[in-house]
């Protein structure tokens, strides 16, 4: 690996226990700016646990996280977000009773001062949300309620969130699981665009074609441990499948 760019994210010996269950054990992982890393593994392999630790949902039981060269300790999702980590959750984390624009800006609303009052800047948020949807080529109206939206539109709302800030790392948990073929193309081209801007992406997916279409590296997890970490050019879907299932022990 070229030492030109400092790693954006560096995990060392990351482990997590939930009571007697060992969800994650001794995971080392290094990600550089502009790198797209596919994270694969069967259900219960520890992918989501890993992502949630990096996202600050809960702290690791062992190990350290370095982000942008500094050691970080996340206690809340806000902590990881404030250093530049964005997450698209598998269940998208949308409030159905709010509009698309409200969901995009949830937790970091644009505000304006009216004398002593600090009020929401509805126009500003709708305009920015519309820009983001346009960028994603999604037919989504900022003022429509999320509960009336299709799977692809909901996905667009969730992804639009990550574009609000100057993220350095975007993690996507199954972003292509529930959407149409055309929308999958859009999500993948969005990942390309993030890469061009030097943003690192961790893509969790069960879909082998997606991984091989956009990722630079693929990391395979099994039973809470990292079993493989290699450039996609040096592996094949067959090998990855074997690593996931355990037919091949390690690569």
């Amino acid at each position: 690996m070229a030492a030109a760019a400092l790693p954006v994210l560096e995990l060392k010996g990351l482990g997590k226990q939930f009571g007697a269950i060992r969800a994650l054990h001794g995971v080392d992982l290094t990600i550089r700016p502009g790198e797209v890393v596919g994270l694969m593994g069967d259900n219960g392999a520890g992918k989501s646990t890993l992502v949630r630790i990096i996202a600050g949902n809960f702290p690791p039981s062992q190990g350290t996280i370095h982000f942008g060269g500094r050691e970080v300790h996340f206690h809340r999702p806000m902590d990881s977000r404030s250093v530049g980590i964005e997450v698209v959750y598998q269940d998208l984390a949308l409030a159905n009773n709010l509009t698309a624009a409200a969901n995009v800006f949830l937790g970091r609303e644009l505000k304006r001062n009216f004398g002593p009052l600090v009020l929401l800047d509805h126009k500003g948020m709708e305009a920015r949300a519309l820009e983001l949807f346009r960028e994603l080529r999604s037919e989504t109206r900022p003022h429509d309620l999320v509960k009336d939206m299709s799977g692809g539109q909901r996905q667009a709302v969730a992804i639009a969130r990550t574009r609000l800030s100057n993220a350095k790392l975007v993690m996507m948990d199954e972003p292509t699981a529930a959407i149409s073929v055309r929308q999958v193309e859009q999500v993948l081209s969005l990942i390309h665009r993030l890469k061009e801007q030097g943003i690192a992406v961790i893509l969790i997916s069960h879909r082998m074609p997606d991984i091989f279409a956009v990722c630079d590296r693929v990391v395979v997890m099994r039973r809470g441990e990292k079993k493989a970490d290699k450039p996609v050019a040096e592996t094949s879907p067959e090998e990855v499948t074997a690593l996931i299932t355990g037919a091949k022990e390690a690569a």
């Binding site: 949902n57 984390a93 409200a102 109206r141």
Partner: protein, 365 residues
Amino acid sequence: MSVPSETSAASPEVTFTNVGASRWWHRGVFASQTAYVTLALIALIVIMSFASPYFLTQGNLQNVAKNFSFIAIATLGITFVIITGGIDLSVGSLMCFAAMITSMVMTSLSTPGMPLSSLFVHLAADGKTVVANVPGLILIVSVLAGLAVSLVVGLINGACVALLGLSPFVTTLGMLSIVRGLGYVVSNGKGSFPGGPDADYFYALTQGDVYGVPAPFIYLILLALVMALVLHHTAFGRHVFAIGGNEKAAELTGVSVPRVKIEVYVVGALAAGLQGIIISGWLGSAPANMATSYELNVIAAAVIGGANLAGGIGGPLGAIVGCVLLEVIRNGLVLAQVNSYWQQTLVGVIIIAAVLVDRIRARLL
């Protein structure tokens, strides 16, 4: 910044070929339970005005306005709690307790010889008449005392729900009993009366009117406007709705869920306390059994007005419409000389009917 429309076909624009715009009557307030309950209310008022010559008289309207204002402020408060998906059963007890504390503090500070009273009152030259050092100060202090106990109760409710993770129903059911019990303890079961030199101000502010408009009604309208502003134009209001819609999403996107939850219970408690203080002014006393089971009226009014107990939906208009509807029905039954025992039965029917019609509407439209 260009706004795309269905007609513009410029390529970088978003085009909405497959996604139609929803019609205005399928959107916002028009598509809500609040909208048709308002229609039902208007229809009811029209029918009533034909059925009874007394209904639209000034005296009767003032009466109606005053009566629904007596639960509506608490309903505004509990609507915040309901929007987050919570519930507050302690509002009735708290109305009584806050009113009691207010009148007891007022009386105590106005009685020479009681602790601290020397700061507020002195005896006039005749040795009998009690005169306030600063007119109105006792009133302010005693109302603040009533609101302060409400604040504490709201903080405890909120902390139990948000920090300890107890169910809102159980927490506030317990608080209903605790606060009612404390009311009996501090008063020894006797009622308390607002007294002293500031009592007249107190009555003027609670029973009085401005050009025929009852004072509680004015407070209600002002508070409802503030509430509309807070719910729809502040980040706090947005977070209240988000928590009711999807609490986990709110948490993941960085909303401070425990803090917002504690705040809504505090708002609900303060509204209940203020409501109780106003009621005691109207009654002229704060009896120990005051506002018993009012929590049910308050919740019923909120639900009829369109607040969803599952969370995520509600607002000041609905809260007020719910209260007005309940009061107009009660008033109508009185004018029609129907046995007043029927009132409660009818309220129950209306609660179920309002929710049922909303379900049918959601399915048909």
